[in-house]
Symmetry: C2
Subunit: 171 residues, 2 copies
């Protein structure tokens, strides 16, 4: 656990290292998911961590983890909270508590192929960000603007990310 | 664990329930992430599951979980694998093994505010999907096309999702 001051120091050190060695700014994250012959439960190792992604039993999953859309929304909620915390440290805004509620609407007919005109992913996402602390409202509004402009998962959600896909059939 | 036949049956039952009660197609996922006064480690409950989202120690996190971009990429990898499995069942294509490798490139200068012209989220994602099984290649290519057209997280990643954000300062 880092105090706001030590958080700002950690962020400053991180920025200084990138300024000293600019190649450090370019990061590639890599991970893999596999499914054997049966079932929908995916164990996804991420470095020394692990996530379980699954589907509810209603669609034939084991419900041993959140479904993929829930996992993406959890990434968004966590990223928002972390981005507010980092940028509060950077801007010197005291925040005692950050709560981020996320809702995502999905019409599952797209996913299961019942309706070609329906997109397969969520069609709308809503965020409610609650901030507690002693600063005047305009300071928190400025923080929210900075967080909106710099949150990786808000960008990932709201804007297209180019995806290339290769199919490997062996042989 | 469901066999391919029972997976197809589960999916068929799911579709039949939605056809019988169309309002079931419209799902809203809800979750929340909170951060107290210090640190970057987010515990995110999702129904009866829980995810931990964190940052590496280099940026002041506790490294108790994958970072938000890794979590989103894990959602994508898992969603691809599950979508291939579901659509293989739907199309009657036998697949013995599905492996999905995901890479995501990010220039972290956007996130930490070093370079306004750099987007804060990942700028490119690459997928490698390996399929093993006894079917001829054209069957797997058709499966890949169906999966690409119906994967919720591929849609989420490659296309914009409208996001509304409300700031709640209490009082």
């Amino acid at each position: 656990m880092a105090s706001a001051g030590s958080q700002a120091a950690a962020l400053g050190g991180f920025i200084a290292r990138i300024e000293g060695e600019p190649h450090r700014a370019h990061v590639t994250f890599r991970l893999s998911a596999g499914l054997g012959g049966e079932g929908l439960t995916c164990e996804v190792p991420v470095r020394h961590h692990a996530l379980t992604v699954d589907e509810p039993k209603s669609i034939g999953g084991g419900d041993l983890g959140p479904n993929p859309v829930e996992v993406a929304l959890a990434a968004l909620a966590g990223c928002q909270a972390i981005t507010y915390r980092l940028w509060a440290a950077k801007l010197g805004v005291r925040v005692d508590r950050i709560e981020v509620d996320v809702e995502g609407d999905m019409d599952v007919r797209g996913y299961v192929g019942m309706e070609d005109a329906v997109r397969p992913g969520p069609g709308a996402v809503r965020l409610r960000v609650r901030l507690e602390g002693p600063e005047p409202p305009e300071r928190y509004r400025a923080l929210a603007e900075a967080a909106d402009a710099h949150c990786p998962l808000l960008d990932f959600t709201a804007n297209p990310v180019p995806v290339e896909r290769v199919l490997d059939l062996g042989g």
